[in-house]
């Protein structure tokens, strides 16, 4: 027989390693990386305090004026690093959740994970201050939320639709808890927490960047290792089992990875809305891929968040807005579009 042996595109490293890749996805990731880099450069150079592009290498090498050094190295660069890292973490977490729930609206934002992390942070910061650090509270909150979803859906993570519905309920309860915490708090504390709850990259330092970087270094390889199995689980538990994949274990592992990523990202910049929802969807459409493309989702998320933050800083109303307000505004439109599409598909 004459088989056209063209086969898939591969990334080869020696004889032992042959990774399946998608040429289009590689191109898309490179283009997005360029967009992200351009955004970084614009962010560093824009405005009264911005450093001209020509002087940037000198400042980065430590040869700028004190003011320039403060703007670039202390203020804007860590903020960008946190934005890129948290955006990537949100993107991957969203890709995992949308794959597990087989449902675009089944992202961490919609399913109550962001709200859970926020409630955890509010508990740690306002209700019982000093017991655990706020980031740890966010992580605990995310895990409590996902546990509630797991219990509430009755069949764990095996029933995607129930997961989404339960998640919406859990998210609502978590937000109620946040409101309660804010009402009980002093005015100053409440304002700080309220600002954080919008999701903001304002005044973030290198330690925040390090937090999210460590999370990515540990968790991104895990997500990559799980992505092929997740692809197969998307075809249904029986089909996955037939191919030798334990669907339940894959889901649980993937959810743990996604919760940790979300927790890390929320800890450093608050529950920035809808990046986790939109990034994987945009990535899937751009790459036309048939599975959760972890790298593409990460790059898209990173690009989206720094772009949105640039927009938030430059909105023409004289005030600097938290980035979460921009993503919530844009993402809300996108969520509505998604829901209408899903609804139409169900109705036809």
């Amino acid at each position: 027989m004459s088989a056209a042996q063209e086969g898939p595109s591969l990334l080869r490293l020696g004889d032992r390693v042959a990774l399946l890749t998608n040429r289009r996805a590689v191109t898309v990731c490179l283009v997005l990386a360029v967009v992200a880099l351009a955004t970084v450069l614009v962010t560093l150079t824009i405005g009264d305090l911005g450093v001209p592009l020509t002087e940037l290498p000198t400042v980065l090498a430590g040869g700028g004026s004190r003011a320039q050094e403060w703007v670039v190295l202390t203020n804007r660069l860590p903020r960008l690093a946190v934005g890129l890292g948290a955006g990537a973490a949100f993107g991957v977490a969203g890709a995992i959740f949308q794959s597990v729930t087989r449902n675009p609206p089944g992202s961490p934002d919609v399913i109550g994970l962001g709200a859970g992390a926020a409630a955890g942070a509010a508990a740690a910061g306002l209700v019982w201050p000093g017991v655990v650090p706020v980031p740890a509270g966010a992580l605990v909150g995310a895990f409590v939320a996902i546990l509630a979803v797991w219990v509430g859906s009755g069949r764990g993570f095996a029933a995607p639709y129930r997961m989404v519905v339960t998640g919406i309920a859990v998210g609502a309860m978590a937000l109620a808890f946040v409101q309660l915490a804010i009402l009980r708090a002093t005015r100053e504390d409440a304002q700080v927490v309220a600002a954080w709850l919008n999701g903001s990259l304002g005044s973030r330092g290198w330690s925040d960047a390090a937090t999210v970087a460590v999370a990515l270094v540990v968790l991104l390889p895990l997500a990559l290792a799980l992505s092929r199995r997740l692809q197969l689980v998307e075809m249904g538990d029986d089909a996955a089992t037939g191919l030798g994949v334990d669907a339940g274990r894959t889901r649980t592992l993937a959810v743990v990875v996604a919760v940790l990523l979300t927790g890390a990202a929320v800890a450093v910049c608050g529950p920035v809305a809808f990046v986790a929802l939109t990034a994987p969807q945009i990535a899937r459409r751009l790459t036309r891929s048939s599975g959760p493309g972890m790298v593409a989702a990460a790059v898209t998320g990173a690009t989206l968040l720094v772009l949105a933050d640039l927009l938030a800083q430059r909105l023409p109303f004289g005030v600097q807005y938290p980035v979460g307000i921009v993503t919530a505004g844009l993402g809300g439109v996108y969520l509505a579009f998604l829901l209408v599409r899903e609804w139409r598909r169900g109705a036809v």
Binding site: M1, V17, R228, G236, S290
Partner: protein, 284 residues
């Protein structure tokens, strides 16, 4: 094309001399109790799939035939009892190793969005691949062979979502074939297909059987089952009530017992296999 209608009991067929009886069976359920949540669907059932047979499980709705198939394919874990693959309990084998010996076509798998036929069939190679070695020349050959056997090679670059039901079923079969297993389990492979596509899929299954594979299928259509099967397993209320060649199982008495249906059994004029003609009933 016509399957053999001579007796092909357990142990006969491809097994060597002295290796007869249930121990030589490629797949065997031993006193399994199968349940969803808390309701037992199948209770204390034992069944042996003869090597190189085309075994078809029949029975009325809710008799547990799909449940039994799911247990044989390890997508449902028995509450008690064991399923043995070549004599080894499935629970003691790694799922990936099982997937190199036993493939499953589930009742309604979900085609991922925006996937091409070639990519979907290639997913059947997963159990043969590694974390870092995700593709090899052997994979390419297996995928090409599977697509050739199911005649979907020309569809390679089409999106699965644009295919007709019959084409789509052939693509899923190709994915299962790409696993290169001796055992192939099919859960109602002809449901939702029109009659021409039903026979197209059944002919394909018969050919796969003739090439030496052991096939186990759940079918609704008795006449198709009788025409294509070499071994029939008839179930009712979670028990096996009859087992044997179509000629042994498809008799008026047995059909009346299994389905509560009065009927005549005639010879299929095309194949000589038994064919069920339901008795005329007074119109209410």
């Amino acid at each position: 094309m016509t399957p053999t209608t001579t007796a092909a009991g357990p142990g006969s067929g491809a097994t060597g001399p002295g290796v007869t009886g249930p121990a030589a069976a490629p797949l065997r359920a031993e006193r399994v109790t199968l349940a969803y949540d808390r309701t037992d669907v199948v209770h204390d059932l034992s069944v042996t799939i003869p090597r190189a047979s085309f075994t078809v499980i029949i029975g009325p709705n809710g008799c547990g035939k799909s449940t039994l198939l799911r247990a044989l394919a390890r997508t449902l874990r028995p509450r008690t009892g064991e399923v043995l693959l070549d004599g080894e309990p499935l629970t003691r084998l790694r799922s990936r190793d099982v997937a190199r010996r036993l493939a499953l076509l589930p009742q309604s798998p979900l085609a991922p969005e925006a996937i091409t036929v070639g990519d979907l069939v290639a997913r059947g190679r997963y159990p043969h691949q590694g974390l870092l070695r995700q593709w090899s020349a052997a994979d390419a050959v297996a995928v090409a062979d599977a697509m050739h056997a199911t005649e979907v090679t020309e569809l390679r670059d089409r999106l699965v979502s644009t295919l007709s039901g019959g084409q789509r079923q052939r693509v899923w079969l190709a994915m299962a074939l790409a696993q290169q297993t001796d055992l192939l389990l099919l859960d109602e492979p002809t449901t939702f297909l029109d009659i021409a596509h039903q026979f197209e899929v059944m002919d394909l299954c018969a050919r796969l059987h003739e090439e030496g594979r052991t096939l186990v299928a759940v079918l609704h259509d008795l006449n198709q089952a009788a025409r294509y099967a070499t071994h029939l397993v008839a179930m009712k209320d979670g028990r096996v009530v009859a087992e044997g060649t179509p000629a042994e199982v498809v008799t008026p008495e047995r059909i009346a017992e299994i389905f509560d249906l009065a009927c005549r059994v005639v010879e299929d004029p095309e194949t000589g296999t038994p064919m069920v003609i339901p008795a005329r009933r007074p119109v209410r």
